[in-house]
C-alpha cells in the first residue's frame, strides 16, 4: 500500500510551487488572447515554394499600416498572419500583396472577428465559466449531502473546489508561458477545454471521496481517519490512473497526429486531465486529512 497521505507535505510542496508559478506567469505575462477575444484577423497562407524571408513579407505589408501585426511560421510552407484590423477590404489587400511575392500562394483560411463579436464571445466565456463553477459547486454539495462524519460535507466540497482551482491555474499558467514564448493563443477553444477539465476531473475526485465515505461507514471509529483515506486512495488508484490513461492516450495521439487546428485545444485538455488526475490522487484527499487534523487540533 502506498503511503500517500503520510507524505502529503511533499505533494503540497510540489502543488504549491506549481500553482504559485502558474499565478506568477499569469500575473507577469498575462494571457496571449486570440482574435476570438480581441477582435482582428487571422489569415493562413500557403506558399507554393519555400516561405519568403520574414522581412520581405513585412516590407510588402508595411504600407497597409497593420496594427498589432504578427507573423508566425506554421508547418511546411504555411504562415499565419495576425493583425487587429477586421475589415474585408484590408484582408483582400493583404492577400494581394502576398500574391505579389508569390503569385501561386494560396489563402487556406481567413478568420476575422469584429469588435462586437469578440466582446460577445468574451461575455459568453465569462458566463460559461461562472455557470460551470456554480453548477459543479451545486453538484458537489448534492453528491456529499449524506457525508458528515468525521468532517462535514461542505468540507469535501471545499477540497474538491481547491483541487479544481489547482488544475485550472496550472493549465492557465502553462498557457501563459506558451503564449509569451511561443505565441500560443488563449482563445474560445481554450475556455472550452478548461470547462471540460472542470467537468472531467471533478469526477475523479468524487470517486475517491465516494470510497472514503463508503470505508468510513464500514470501518467504524477504531480506524484512524487518515489511514481510512489512505486505504481508499489505494483502492481507487488503479481506476483513477487507468481511466485517465485512456483519455491521455487519445489526447496524445490527437496532439501528435491530429489536425493543427485543434492541437493546442488538445494540449490544454491533456495538461488539465493530467494535473486533474494528479490532484485528485495527491491533493484532494490529502486536503480532507489536513482539514480533519486542523479540526482536532482546534478542539
Amino acid at each position: 500500500m502506498l503511503q500517500i497521505i503520510n507524505k502529503r507535505k511533499y505533494f503540497y510542496f510540489i502543488s504549491a510551487t506549481l500553482v504559485i508559478s502558474g499565478l506568477g506567469a499569469i500575473f507577469i505575462w498575462g494571457m496571449n488572447f486570440g482574435i476570438d477575444f480581441t477582435g482582428g484577423t487571422e489569415m493562413k497562407i500557403e506558399f507554393s515554394q519555400n516561405i519568403p524571408k520574414k522581412n520581405v513579407i513585412e516590407e510588402k505589408l508595411k504600407e497597409l499600416n497593420l496594427v498589432g501585426f504578427s507573423l508566425k511560421k506554421g508547418e511546411k510552407n504555411l504562415i499565419i498572419l495576425q493583425y487587429e484590423k477586421s475589415d474585408d477590404d484590408i484582408n483582400r489587400k493583404v492577400f494581394e500583396k502576398i500574391k505579389e511575392i508569390d503569385s501561386n500562394a494560396k489563402q487556406l483560411s481567413v478568420n476575422f472577428i469584429g469588435a462586437s463579436v469578440s466582446s460577445r464571445l468574451k461575455t459568453n466565456a465569462v458566463e460559461a465559466i461562472m455557470l460551470s463553477i456554480l453548477g459543479i459547486a451545486i453538484y458537489i454539495s448534492v453528491a456529499f449531502r449524506k457525508v458528515s462524519r468525521p468532517v462535514s460535507s461542505w468540507k469535501y466540497g471545499l477540497g474538491a473546489i481547491i483541487a479544481l482551482a489547482h488544475d485550472v491555474i496550472i493549465t492557465a499558467g502553462i498557457f501563459s508561458f506558451l503564449g509569451h514564448f511561443y505565441g500560443v493563443k488563449t482563445d474560445v477553444a481554450f475556455v472550452a477545454a478548461l470547462l471540460t477539465i472542470l467537468g472531467y476531473s471533478v469526477n475523479d475526485t468524487i470517486v475517491v471521496y465516494d470510497r472514503i465515505r463508503e470505508n468510513i461507514l464500514r470501518s467504524g471509529i477504531k480506524d484512524e481517519f487518515e489511514s481510512v483515506i489512505n486505504r481508499s486512495l489505494n483502492e481507487t488508484l488503479a481506476r483513477s490512473i487507468n481511466t485517465s490513461f485512456t483519455v491521455i492516450i487519445v489526447l496524445v495521439f490527437l496532439i501528435i497526429f491530429g489536425s493543427e487546428a485543434i492541437r493546442y485545444f488538445s494540449l490544454a485538455l491533456l495538461i488539465g486531465v493530467s494535473f486533474g488526475t494528479y490532484s485528485s490522487i495527491f491533493v484532494a484527499s490529502a486536503l480532507i486529512a489536513t482539514i480533519y487534523k486542523f479540526q482536532i487540533n482546534r478542539k
Binding site: 481567413v110 469584429g114 460551470s132 453548477g135 472550452a192 471533478v202 470517486v207 483502492e235 481511466t243 492516450i249
Partner: protein
Amino acid sequence: MNLKNKLRTNFFLIFLLAVFSTFLSYPKAVSKISPVYNFFDKLKINLGLDLQGGIHLEYKADVSQIEKGKVGEAMEAVQDVIERRVNAFGVSEPLIYTTKSGADNILVVELAGIKDIEEAKSQIKGTPILEFKEESSEKEEDVEIPEEFLTQLNQQRKEKAEEILKKVLAGEDFAQLAKENSDDPGSKENGGEYDFVKKRSFVPEYEDVIFNKNLVDGTIYPSLVESSFGWHIIKKIQVRGEGDDQEFKSAHILFAKQTQPEPQKEFVSTGLTGKNLKNAKVELQNQGLAEPQVGLKFDDEGAKLFAEITKRNLKKQVAIYLDGEIISAPTVQAEITNGEAVITGNFTLEDAKNLVKNLNEGALPVPISLVSQNSVEASLGEISLRESMKAGAMGLGVILIFMIFYYRYLGLVASFSLLIYTALMVTIFKLSVLTPWGITFTLSGIAGFILSIGMAVDANILIFERTKEELASGRNVLGSIRQGFERAWPSIRDGNFSTIITSLILIWVGTGFVKGFAVVLIIGVIVSMFTAIVITKTILNFTLREWAEKRVWLIVPSHQKNSEK
C-alpha cells in the same frame, strides 16, 4: 428459463445493432455486395465548413432606421433576399439564418464547399440597397463653381472634340474613338451606336443633322453639333420608314458640357425602400438621348408611401439612393398614385440590366456589414479531417490493446463494446441528418468524439476494478462481476453527470467551435453509458457461465486471486 430467453433475445438484439451500425458507419465493409453497399452508402455525415471547406459569414444589420416593432420583419426580408442571391450561385444546402447577439441583429450565411470565396462575398454584398429620400427642411448653402472656371473647362472639352473630329474625318476608327472618348454612357460601349429609334426621340440639334443636312447614310457630319448635352460628332447610319413612322439609326461621340451643379441638398429617409419593390425593368424611354432607365413598380404599401411622398414633395426633389449613393434626384412634377417610378441615372445598358436583375432578386431593406468571417479552403479541411481521423483510430487501437492486456477477457468484451460505441456514434451522426436535429460534424466535434472514445471505457474500468476487488475479497467470478456492475454504478452516474453539466453549459452559451465539441461530447457520454454498461453486461452474462468459475485467469492473473487480503 424465462430469464435465459430474455438474455438470448438481448444478445441477439445487440448483435443486430452491432451489424447494422457497422455497415452504416463503414459501408466499405460490404462493398462486395453492391445492393447492401448502396443502401448503406447513401447516408453521409454532415461535415462542417472546417472539414469540407467553405465560408461562414456573419453580417450585422443596421436597423437604426427601422421602427422597433418591424425589426423582425425587416430581418426576415434580409434573409429572404440573401437566400435568393445565394441560391443563384448554386451552393448545395446553403445555411442562412438570423440571430440576435446582445442588441445586434446578426445574419449568418454558411456556404459549404464553395470554391471562390471572394466572388461569393461580393455577390452577397452586391445586393443593392435602394432608398428613397426627401429634402430635409434644413437648407444647405449652395456651392457654386465660378463661371470662368466652367467656361474654361468647356472650352477645353470643345477643343478635344474638334481634335477627335479631325481624326474621324481623317478616317480613324469611329467606334474605337467613341469607346475611348465619348461621355455618353448609353452608347459608349457600342462604339457610339444607337439602334433604330423613332423620329423626335433625340434632341432637335441632333435630329436636324440626321434629317435636314442631306447627309449620306454611313457618313460623318463634318462639324461639331452643339446641344444642351455638349458637343456631338454625329454619324448617320440609316433612316427608314415614312412620315411619323420614320426611324433612324446613328452613332455619336459626345463631349459633355459642364453645367452648374444642382445645389447640394440634405436628404432624409422617407421609409420607402427596396423592400417595397414589386419589380423592376429596363426601359429605353425616348427622351432626349435614348438613355436606359430603370422602371420600378411598388407593392401596395410602397405605392401608398410613394403617393404620400410625391404629394408632400411637389415641385421638390426626391432622391433615389442606391447602396448609399445618390443616383438620381428628380423633381416631383405631380403626385404619383399608380406606384410606378423611374430611375434615370447615367446608366449604360449593361449597368441598367444588372441593376434590374439585382433589384428583382431583392433589394435589402437595411444595410448590412460583415462583422465576422471564417473561411477554410477545401484542401485544408480535407487534411484536418484525415489527420484527425488517423489520430482517433490510433488512439482507439491503443485503448483496445490496453484494455485486453490489462483486463483480459473483460477487456476483450469492453473492446467489443467500444467498437460498437464508435460505430454507433457514427451511425447517430449519419441518421441525425434525416431528423430536424441534424448534427454537423466539425473539427471540434471530432475532438469531442475522440475524447469521448477515451472516456467511454471509463465506466468499464470502474466496473472491472470493482470486480477485481470483489474477486480479491473471495467472491466467485460471476458474483464478482454482478457486484462490480452494481456497485460501480453510483460512481459512473456521478462522474458522467459532472461532464454532462459542463457540456450543457458549453452548448448553452457557446457558439461554433465550442458547441460542436460539447454536442458530440454529451451524446458520447450518454451513448457510452449504454454501450459500457448494457452491452458489456449482456455479452458477459451471455458468454460467461459456470465454467468460468474455474478459470479465474480469464479475469485476473490467477496468483492474484488470494494474494491480497
